[in-house]
């Protein structure tokens, strides 16, 4: 593999902000030289180093791939704008942090898709690497470009740019892909793709063609290679205890977003919130045993020296042995001067007990996520938190000494009315001054984006003007001393919705926006509102069709060919229940027949 010129590199590093983003060599990063002809895998995170290095999935795959004797996995992140400019000026292509090799020379280039607004960075990184943007234009000298992560559950917006999508848990399938690559080296791209397209969780978009009806909806998906499967099944890890988990994660030189040891304690969630994609696509709940979690935590702390440990999952306190786990970890951490962070807690009594044990002296902020302002709307979205729960939690928090509370809400949820907005205002105010106490309250409001594989996947999204009007209403409702009100840029939410539920045709809009300079769209300072609007319009990509239209159940959705394990009928019934405000119980209280049980063993079924 070709390496970048060290002298030029050194000169560039002297001119950029945070040069340590580009140098690799961190403690626990791997030396990637192996005998034989190992498969080289460049793991690409389409955002800057500090974001990418906070992503546990990278560590997991990096560890699994490098553990294999026939695979070398290196990392690459999106260079920040200052570095990109210098690299382009000096004709330096995109390179990996470990061996500083050209990304183009790797066998496989794998992107993780965590967020729709990183798609322009995917294109930009391909371009910086000197790899043709379109899958069809790539030759034998180019890597196989693969992509996975939650956004890959609707792969279609990127279908023209990505050779292979991985749908589901990446742990084993990425390694399998590497082995297949090694076994078929020299037989050519097409042959390789033909071989792997039958593997569970693998989707090769180039083997399908989509035709559309006059109204713009999908007419038919046709195969262009007979051997390709009709339905792509999500690939899944059944037992977390049986898979490797990083024991020596990389310790970055510079501060990253989550600068700590992390143990994933379970995957999935039983709560069934109807807006939540993660709660659907990561079913069923698969727990890591308490013993294994504690063991991993200690080994990671020994091997990294971090002074903070985070537990990773959705709704962390739902782990079946949460109380014991948290108590024991609190003790262990206290003994070694490590702080424990539990980012996703339900604020029930157990959690408070645990939290006050952890934050004995220093009380950081508490976060509540009621998501909607009234009980009616919380029933619609199946967020089973009552006003009483919130008041109780606030009282307990007050008694235990917390003074800062953050509240998360969404606006633009199906069936929302002005009363629901007023409810947000009421809740915020109530917490600030109730019974003479004083909290400082932050109300964070995000714009609801309907996501594939959720019961709300058929719903129209709010328009920009709706979001703006609602922001205005909330701003005036929350003009209260002690309340801080934050909200998100409306047009970014529209774009997020467009790429979340888009089909193959939105890819042209993406490419045009990138060509005209859009990148780092998730960062408000680099988001180019006008450029995006014009690019979409010039590419004839109409948000009206993709975002604001009410879809019927009979319509073929772009992602319908993927089987997530959740029955479509279940999503429909959940959507119908939402319309009448009827709730669905937590799966732990009895099976709701979502379908996952016929896909794999759901251990929530006692």
């Amino acid at each position: 593999m070709r390496k970048i010129d060290k002298k030029t590199f050194d000169r560039l590093l002297g001119q950029v902000e945070k040069p340590a983003r580009y140098i690799g060599t961190e403690y626990n990063s791997r030396k990637t030289e192996k005998p034989g002809e190992p498969v080289s895998f460049a793991f690409a995170f389409p955002d800057i180093y500090e974001i990418g290095m906070s992503y546990m999935g990278l560590e997991i795959l990096y560890d699994i791939l490098n553990e294999d004797k026939d695979v070398c996995c290196e990392r690459v992140f999106a260079p920040a704008t200052d570095m990109e400019e210098l690299m382009r000026e000096n004709h330096m292509p995109l390179f990996t942090l470990e061996s500083k090799s050209h990304v183009k020379d790797f066998d496989i280039l794998g992107f993780t898709l965590q967020y729709e607004m990183s798609y322009t960075n995917v294109l930009n990184m391909l371009d910086m690497a000197g790899i043709p943007l379109y899958s069809k234009d790539r030759g034998e000298d180019d890597p196989i470009v693969i992509a996975g992560g939650p956004c890959a559950f609707n792969p279609e917006p990127l279908a023209d740019f990505i050779d292979v999508f991985v749908i589901g848990d990446g742990e084993y399938i990425d390694l399998e892909l590497c082995r297949e690559y090694k076994a078929n080296r020299g037989k050519g791209r097409v042959e390789f793709l033909r071989r792997i397209c039958k593997m569970k969780g693998i989707y090769v978009p180039g083997f399908y063609e989509v035709t559309y009806k006059d109204d713009g909806t999908i007419d038919e998906r046709k195969k262009t290679f007979e051997g390709a499967p009709d339905i792509i099944e999500r690939v899944m890890i059944d037992d977390l205890d049986a898979v490797r988990f990083p024991t020596s994660p990389i310790v970055p030189y510079i501060k990253t977003v989550h600068d700590r040891a992390v143990v994933e304690i379970f995957r999935g969630c039983t709560r069934g919130c109807r807006f939540c994609q993660a709660g659907m696509i990561y079913r069923p709940v698969r727990e890591r045993s308490r013993e294994r979690i504690e063991e991993l935590a200690e080994i990671q702390l020994d091997n990294t020296g971090y002074d903070e440990l985070g537990l990773l999952s959705l709704s962390t306190s739902d782990h079946s042995e949460f109380e014991k786990l948290a108590t024991e970890l609190t003790e262990k951490c206290a003994a070694r001067n490590v702080s424990l962070s539990l980012p996703s807690l339900r604020l029930d009594n157990v959690s408070f007990k645990v939290l006050s044990g952890i934050q004995k002296y220093k009380k950081s902020g508490l976060t509540f996520a009621p998501e909607a302002g009234t009980q009616r709307l919380r029933d619609v979205i199946n967020k089973q938190v009552s006003e009483q729960d919130l008041t109780d939690a606030a009282n307990t928090a007050m008694e235990l000494g917390w003074r800062r509370v953050k509240l998360y809400f969404m606006i633009g949820l199906p069936t929302e009315t002005v009363e629901d907005l007023e409810g947000i205002g009421e809740l915020g105010k109530k917490l600030v001054c109730d019974k003479g106490r004083r909290f400082s309250v932050t109300v964070s409001v995000s714009n609801f984006v309907p996501k594939p594989f959720t019961p709300f996947q058929w719903h129209p999204q709010d328009r920009e003007e709706d979001f703006r009007r609602k922001h205005d209403i909330l701003s005036s409702l929350l003009k209260v001393k002690g309340v801080e009100f934050n909200y998100h840029e409306s047009y970014i939410s529209i774009l997020e919705g467009l790429f979340a539920r888009g089909d193959r045709r939105v890819g042209e809009g993406l490419k045009l926006a990138w060509e005209r300079g859009c990148k780092f769209d998730g960062w408000s300072e680099s988001f180019k509102d006008d450029v995006w609007r014009n690019a979409l319009s010039d590419a004839s990509v109409d948000p009206e069709f993709y975002c604001f239209r009410d879809r019927g159940y009979e319509e073929i959705l772009p992602w319908d060919f993927i089987n997530s394990g959740i029955k479509r009928d279940y999503l429909i019934s959940e959507n119908e229940k939402a319309r009448i405000g009827s709730t669905t119980k937590d799966c732990r209280l009895g099976c709701n027949d979502c379908g996952i049980n016929s896909f794999t063993e759901c251990r929530m079924l006692k």
Binding site: Q15, A20, I23, V251, K255, T304, G305
Partner: protein, 227 residues
Amino acid sequence: MGKYILTFKKQGYIKYTSHLDMMRLFNRMFSRAGISLAYTQGFNPHGKMSLCQPLSLGYTSLCEMLEFEIRDDDVPGDEKCRELFEKISAVMPEGLTAVDVKEAENSRSLASLCYKAAYDIVIPDEDGNIRRHIEETGGKEAFLSQDRIEVMKKKKKSRDSVSVDIKKGIKKLEIEYDDRKILLSTELDAGSSENLSPELLLRAFFDFLHIPLHRETLEIQRSALFV
């Protein structure tokens, strides 16, 4: 309880790690090594350790010194120093090399004892242009024999620049010519009372030569700290 001084080299890409990041790095390093630092008292306790003299981002060094205090009952001495040296060496990140560990003899902090630092600076000079300018202007003798050596320096808080005289901060300056590069070795005031950064010296020197300084092409290595 014992107070020790670790001397180490900083070479390679790790030179792009800032002073603050180095402090975090050492905290983690001690933790990996299983060495328990003594903690400061107070509201926000942290491990007792400090670097003798901050090293600018991008500089390498042969002689960095970290002073640290540990929490154990072992008798300080050669054997203890050897043990610490081995534990530390085993967990240092790439680019850092432990040179030795010694007991700290002075109760005053290293930072307060430090008074001078030596640097080796490599300036690329592909076409010999810089060398020509040095020779034409009378070289270092002419530069050093000025009554005042003035250079603009940015104030820390406001963005204003003020002119400062750095003459008495320059303790030594040698210039050698090598194949297509110029080697400058210098000794400058360093420490908490008087401090002169090599960058200011270079700016003053290049101002004197009337040629632009391309900071990103320089290699600067600290070769000694005097305490």
